[in-house]
């Protein structure tokens, strides 16, 4: 996982509510046994026409979307299945942060463990972002602030531990393994065993 402190990027806006993980990556692409190369299937059934060519109506296919690292989406992004292939596909495509008013629990948890930053904003900020696709905005994890194109800044909530791991580019397994002594003690002392 790459360390992340600041992110400056234009936004690409997908103004659809309740984007589920089946849209982010359809189940038929989950038969892979690796996490690489999923970006080609990102939003597959919205992004490509039946003949496999790009769907010009879909926002990621617009010339302005090229190189955008921040996706602004409608509320309740990432609902549905627990497939971690969803953040893997977004990251492989080049998206590094997703902004919405609501982000589904499992998707958010999976994103944080892979270096994809889920950012929750208030409805007024969200509305401004939705109305101004292509704005260059700045995400600063060190101060947990989001600076909009007009220079105004808002803070966003993020779990302290997840933030630390993102900033250090470290995964969370090491932390758990450092507590192996506590885990063994818990197993020995619990009054019943599974």
């Amino acid at each position: 996982m790459q360390a992340m402190r600041q992110l400056n990027s234009r936004t690409v806006v997908l103004p659809v509510n309740d984007v589920d993980t089946d849209q982010i990556i359809p189940a038929r692409f989950l038969t892979t046994t690796t996490r690489e190369g999923l970006g080609q299937h990102l939003f597959h059934d919205w992004r490509y026409r039946d003949d496999g060519s790009d769907n010009p109506e879909f926002v990621l296919n617009s010339p302005e979307a090229r190189g955008c690292e921040i996706l602004v989406a409608g509320r309740n992004f990432g609902c549905g299945s627990s497939r971690e292939h969803a953040p893997w596909a977004l990251l492989d495509y080049g998206i590094k942060a997703v902004i919405s008013t609501e982000i589904a629990d499992i998707f958010r948890s999976n994103s944080l463990k892979n270096g994809l930053l889920p950012i929750l904003v208030q409805p007024d900020v969200h509305a401004r972002l939705l109305q101004n696709p292509g704005d260059t905005i700045c995400v600063d994890l060190t101060t947990t602030t989001l600076t909009l194109a007009d220079g105004s800044a808002v803070t966003f909530p993020i779990d302290a531990f997840a933030r630390y791991c993102l900033m250090e580019g470290t995964d969370q397994l090491g932390f758990l393994q450092n507590h192996l002594g506590d885990i063994v003690r818990f197993e020995e002392q619990r009054p019943w065993t599974p």
């Binding site: 309740d18 359809p26 892979t32 046994t33 971690e84 779990d159 507590h179």
Partner: protein, 469 residues
């Protein structure tokens, strides 16, 4: 939380598994009692384990099955896997290799216990009250029907549990959903949970663990409670729970992995304390009037877009999302759902593939034929369910009516194994998600109970099951 203050069922199970308490800087370390694994969400986790030179810390608390990428036609050899596609076959093979290498028990094709991960856990009696249960699958919420704290995790977390038997978690909030009253004839657990999701909204449970309570829940069988808890995630809640009671204990007694003899008595005593104390405070509470519920069907592209089967497609909010969903479904506001033609009927999935689900559908189909032009697939949740259903002759009823009777698996719920709904076709499905393309590219899914699905197969249109009872 001071001792003696009233606590919820969730809080009891949570606090019983905290290895290290959460702090502002770090999440809690939560112990996992049962880790269920399947072929789709584990290969990358085993790769990480291998890269780190880690072993599986508690293979004895880990159970594997093959369900998502498996054919629902018989599998005698590796060649038979090909119908699900080459990459699906390779994924199944990888799971077999991983379980063998890391010493994990796998219910593979030779096993009579193979089946959908959320069907076999309870069936084996491995799912028990008060346990923490996780799986790389969002419908792990199913196991909460037993008073377990059960939730879906991602593949990175699967790796955490394999390596340490623990997860890093922030404590979620609690949501009480009381389903009061008594469900009318023809109204099932599926209808109750669809109506509940319609009321909460598909993101309404985000950040919460639901406890289902009330007379309608208490009256339900374990199969029905599992249907309810299964769809908690469709309201955004990672977990749903029901306090264990005699219905739970009767279900579990004598099952292969349930405690035996004196351990059984001790377990029952412990399990009886697993309920929310009177006066326990939930972060939120809602009530659903069970007396007033009808059979429910979805009309849009998420499980919250749901109405009574005898109603018309609503006008909605008129927003772009609503219009987009109706366009996809090829439905109009004001259109009566009972006029909508059906191409495919699917009875199966971790929501509704247990013996009682199949019995309900079979009872309706007995002596009847499915309509011309309808393809109907009945996929039992496990090989055990299949065997029990066949012993009762249900397979014969389904076959005589014109339906196909298959081997167990997730099948057409998500179409990973080649069982898909053709483009543009309308499917009445007992599964849990009606997302765009869920059952196949361009497939239109209407979620319903097994009764409504069977009635719709007979009518060739979306049908009110009460007319066929």
């Amino acid at each position: 939380m001071g001792t003696g203050s009233p606590t919820t069922l969730f809080e009891k199970v949570w606090s019983d598994h905290v290895v290290a308490a959460e702090t502002p800087d770090t999440p809690a370390i939560l112990y996992v009692d049962l880790h269920l694994i399947h072929e789709v969400t584990t290969p990358q986790a085993f790769t990480v384990l291998r890269e780190r030179g880690s072993r599986v810390r508690r293979p004895d608390l880990t159970l594997g099955t093959l369900d998502h990428s498996t054919p629902t036609t018989p599998v005698a050899s590796f060649r038979d896997l090909a119908v699900a596609g080459d990459s699906a076959a390779r994924q199944v093979q990888k799971m077999q290799e991983n379980c063998h290498e890391f010493g994990i028990e796998l219910f593979g094709f030779g096993s009579e216990h193979r089946g959908i991960v959320h069907v076999i856990g309870p069936e084996l009696g491995a799912t028990q009250p008060g346990k923490t249960i996780v799986c790389g699958d969002s419908h792990t919420s199913t196991h909460g029907a037993f008073g377990a704290l059960a939730f879906g995790i991602g593949t990175t977390e699967v790796g955490h549990v394999l390596a340490t038997q623990c997860l890093l978690q922030r404590r979620p909030k609690t949501l009480s959903v009381e389903i009061s009253g008594r469900l009318a004839k023809g109204v099932t657990a599926k209808d109750a949970i669809l109506a509940t999701i319609g009321q909460i909204g598909i993101g309404g449970g985000t950040g919460h663990v639901i406890e289902y309570r009330g007379a309608a829940i208490t009256a339900m069988s374990m199969d029905e409670r599992m249907t309810v808890c299964n769809m908690s995630i469709e309201a955004g809640a990672r977990a749903g729970m029901v306090a264990p009671d005699d219905t739970t204990f009767t279900y579990l007694e004598g099952r292969p992995r349930a405690p035996k003899a004196s351990a059984w008595e001790a377990s029952i005593e412990r399990w009886r304390s697993l309920k929310s104390d009177s006066g326990a405070v939930f972060d939120r509470s809602i009530t659903v009037d069970g007396n007033r519920l009808s059979p429910m069907v979805t009309f849009g592209t998420n499980p919250g877009m749901v109405v009574a089967v005898d109603a018309a497609v609503p006008d909605g909010d008129g927003g772009p999302g609503f219009r987009k969903a109706l366009d996809y479904m090829q439905l109009q506001p004001g259109q009566r759902l009972s006029d909508v033609g059906v191409d495919v009927v699917f009875i199966g999935s971790c929501t509704n593939s247990r013996l009682s689900d199949l019995q309900q559908a079979a009872n309706m189909l007995r002596g009847r034929k499915i309509a011309n032009g309808v393809t109907m697939l009945v996929v039992p949740g496990s090989q055990q369910v299949k065997k029990e259903a066949e012993a009762l002759g249900l397979d014969q009823i389904f076959r005589s009516s014109g339906a196909q009777w298959r081997e167990s698996g997730c099948s057409m719920c998500l179409g990973m194994n080649g069982d898909t709904v053709p483009r543009g076709k309308l499917s009445v499905s007992t599964s849990n998600r009606n997302f765009e393309g869920r059952q196949g590219i361009g497939a239109r899914t209407v979620l319903a109970s097994p009764l409504t699905a069977a009635a719709s197969a007979i009518a060739g249109k979306i049908a009110d099951p009460r007319r066929y009872l």
